[in-house]
Amino acid sequence: MNKEQHVDATVNPVKSVSSIWFIPFIAVLIGCWMLYYQWANQGPLITLHFESAEGLEEGKTKIKFRNVNIGNVETISINEAADGVIITARMSKSAENILVEDSSFWVVTPKISLAGVSGLSTLISGVYIEISPGLSKQARLEFEALDSPPVTPLGTPGLHITLNSDDQFAYSKGDPIIYKGLTVGQFEDIYFNFEERIVYYNVFIKAPYHKLITTNTKFWDVSGLNVDLNADGLSIKTGNLETLLTNGVTFDVPTGMEVGQQITERDYFDIYANYELASDQRFKQSVNYVVLVSNTIRGLKVGAPVEYRGVLIGHVKSTNISETNQNGLFSDDLKIPVLISLQPGRVGLPDNEDGKQLMDQQNTLWIHKGLKATLKTGNLLTGSLFVELQHFEKQTLDNIQTYAGYTVIPTVTDQFTQITEKLGVFIDKLNQLPLETTAENANKTLNEITNMTKDFQHTSQSLNSILQSAHQQELIKELNTTLQSLSTLSHSYSADSDAYEQLEATLKTLSDTLYELKPLLNQLKHQPNGLIFNSGNNNKLVPKKHKGDK
């Protein structure tokens, strides 16, 4: 019993960490991997500067490129100067390569303008930020956003040129550039030069139409309807349907002018009011003359045509020019000097100094031999005038006059003006006629005629009374005749007359007949079928003998 039995225990090593802990460990590893993946794949954080954050929301507003989401707005805050907002946005990794120096950002909002409607989808989806990738290779993460989308996306093939105008044209961003009715370009931006007081418009011409822009290309305005009522009559012109509503500019090489060399870099062009003005620019050389007009120059405008036998050879350059060294008083009436510009290129002469000299010599010769200038009415409706040069061989001139340094072409009055002058003389003579005496005589005659009319009126009234009296007498006669006839008729139907007796007999016969018919009518009234069937109700009610006599 004392002998104890010892049993050695089997000692096994105890596991220090339970296998269940592998599960959270794996979860931690997955989480770390996710964080790393997220960090490794997230795009850059960019900063955008906007003037306003209208419509933008943190965490909601997208940044899109070609309608693909490439980023999200994360924060919106006001900048230090409080003149704008700073927006930070997280871009996707795939958008890293388009975030370069000249990339541009703008907010897409719905817009309705005369040029069209855009961004309507944002009415439902909300506004978003659009990016236009730049061409630069230098990466950038901070940008100044645009107020509105760029008219021409960066890198679009075409040609940038600058148009300028000192006229009162009002082109705006996006207005079209038209070529033969096609929209081939747009106004990109506008710049006003305060020193020159000229508006410059940066314009983009799309490829392949940019090849049409040459050194001789002229631009002119085609805004809306161009209604021109001038010496040539009424003309209406327009560019295309778009320019009916908005402003627009078209261009071309004027007829008769060489095409010129193609423009490859930004160049400057003027905008002319119309094609005619643009076309005139093809003639660079001109010879100026003065025409002294003794009549009115109302209707003669700057730019009015100067014609030689119907051929346009120049334009009126200025009206009523004055010599600078004018002193003293004029003894005679003053002739109005009109400066005209004749272009040798228009009459087939070379458009250079030789042509200019040749034209001057030719005109000097003709002035000696009787070349005269006349102001003619081009349009009777508007009264617009133009200058015509004509030969009057009998009115030769020995000494040619000059005015302000320009050769003077003598003038002769227009035939229409001559007619009006003669008409004026005729009216003067008419005024001298003794109209007052004639008017007095006519007045007396009219008074006499009035008196005669009154007498005639009295006479007609008397005649009318007589006729009315005669008519009444006739009426009384007819009335008497009618009454006599009526009396005869009443006698015919009076008592004791045959007609009366016949009438009485007829009435009696009628009364008797009705008396006889009375029982029948009474029977039919109570028994409608009494004519066919007996009622069976024989009336046996008869007077009875007095009972007292029984």
């Binding site: 006889e516 009375k518 009336n539 008869v542």
Partner: protein, 196 residues
């Protein structure tokens, strides 16, 4: 064909069964031809007065049927007993016959529609009731106005007579007698020119 003919004959026989002999209408005349004979009129000598007689019958008697009072407020017109002439005519004829037959010095004529002559006297008779009643009694009432010598006198009258036999024929005879009574009454009221 044969059956159709038989059906037609049967239909006609049935229709003939509905027929009945027409009821015979009896016509009556108030005046009797015996009184109307001219021989009954006395020969008038020294006619001193001429009377024009006019009779106005009540509206209920302007019927061709003989009327009979069946209750206190109910009248009956017999469809099968009718006057041959309007009752007003019959009364006037009867009255004139009686008046002219019983007067030798006065002449009675019917008033024409144009009115009485200026010189004659007038007798205007207005009948109120003239019919037989179910109580076997004939009644004749009214008034006559005697316009004679610028004197206008009004005399009401009421005559009744009991029926001794059944039927309208006897009642018409009784009515005729009542007219004679009225004639006698008128003759008693007019001035006898023999006494003038």
């Amino acid at each position: 064909m044969k059956s159709s003919l038989i059906s037609l004959i049967l239909f006609l026989l049935l229709l003939s069964g509905c027929s009945s002999p027409p009821e015979q209408t009896q016509y009556y005349m108030l005046n009797n031809l015996q009184n109307a004979a001219p021989s009954n009129a006395p020969q008038k000598v020294n006619v001193c007065n001429t009377y024009t007689v006019s009779i106005a019958m009540p509206e209920y008697l302007n019927q061709p049927y003989l009327a009979m009072q069946v209750h206190e407020h109910q009248m009956h017109y017999s469809n099968s007993h009718m006057w041959v002439e309007p009752l007003a005519t019959g009364v006037q004829k009867s009255l004139l016959d009686d008046l002219n037959a019983n007067s030798s010095h006065s002449k009675f004529t019917a008033m024409r529609s144009s009115g009485a002559s200026n010189n004659s006297s007038t007798i205007n008779i207005e009948v109120n009731y003239f019919h037989v009643s179910e109580n076997s009694e004939v009644i004749f009432s009214g008034q006559f106005t005697l316009d004679e010598e610028s004197q206008n006198t009004q005399h009401p009258f009421l005559y009744k007579s009991q029926l001794n036999n059944d039927g309208y024929n006897h009642s018409v005879a009784q009515m005729r007698q009542l007219v004679s009574k009225l004639a006698n009454s008128i003759l008693n009221q007019i001035t006898n020119c023999q006494h003038k």
